[in-house]
Symmetry: C2
Subunit: 144 residues, 2 copies
DNA sequence: CGTATGTCAGCTGTACTGACATGT
DNA sequence: CACATGTCAGTACAGCTGACATAC
């Protein structure tokens, strides 16, 4: 039987997720879908990658990542090249258009949420939130 | 230009959401889908309701709620009755089976997350998290 | 041969919009 | 009539599994 505080926090976390997710979905965000934007940003931050690596990083299956990459490819935002060292692998990089889009989209995507956080919370409250978010990333650590 | 701390928190919040959502999705949870379970729990907590009211509470359109309610109806977990005071409205209540399922599902659904929180965090850290979650619900407040 | 990478096809869950019947 | 409630049909997104080709 876990700590009642943990049980309460679990309830709150799930409830917050459901409601905030619906809220975030309604924020206009360029023409890219959320998963497309996430991959674009990751490529911009971490440089060239591959389907499998991106899938692991985003926590999805490689098949799902393939679909996202196909969409980004159709939009001309990424380029694929065979890895000279391993013919199975594809090196995926941002096209020039993709680089520009990553920057623009980042601005647009987080503007609403950042403004809301800034507007609704004091610096002290923001510090508490930031600390909790850092802690919560532990939930996503593998295994232990 | 918002506080850089707000901007950073917005980044972290979105990233945490993406990854934690994927994680939570993989937790086995009875046979009910997440949205079905959420509606069942709400009916159990708040009593009889209607399609429109439930849709507003869950932050979805009435058409989407209709689909969820149809699924719950097919499972025999809810009952619908015409509102005697307004023929357009349907009074939706839990069936006896629905009441039992709501309780059982609640246990099962949050067990994993509560155990993880309990396992990975100290009481002090849990307190920080609980405080931040309380703060963050403000984001979902209407308007101000 | 077994393993790893990546793709395609098909399914599910969830929400959306538009069109519409019905009741107030 | 306008308005509210609820439904059905069609579509989009994002994940999943299974089957498979290809390269190591």
């Amino acid at each position: 039987m876990p700590d009642p505080a943990a049980s309460q926090a679990a309830d709150d976390l799930v409830a917050l997720f459901r409601r905030l997710r619906a809220r975030l979905r309604r924020v206009p965000s360029g023409s890219l879908t959320p998963s497309q934007a996430a991959v674009l940003l990751r490529l911009h931050r971490d440089g060239a990658s591959s389907t499998t690596v991106l899938a692991l990083a985003e926590g999805v299956r490689s098949q799902s990542m393939t679909a996202t990459l196909n969409a980004l490819g159709d939009l001309g935002l990424i380029e694929r090249a065979a890895d000279p060292e391993d013919g199975r692998r594809q090196l995926i990089t941002l096209s020039p258009a993709g680089r520009a889009r990553a920057l623009a989209d980042r601005q647009e995507r987080h503007a609403w949420l950042a403004a809301e956080l800034d507007r609704r919370f004091t610096p002290a409250e923001l510090a508490t939130i930031a600390e909790a978010l850092t802690l919560l990333t532990r939930l996503d650590d593998p295994g232990r």
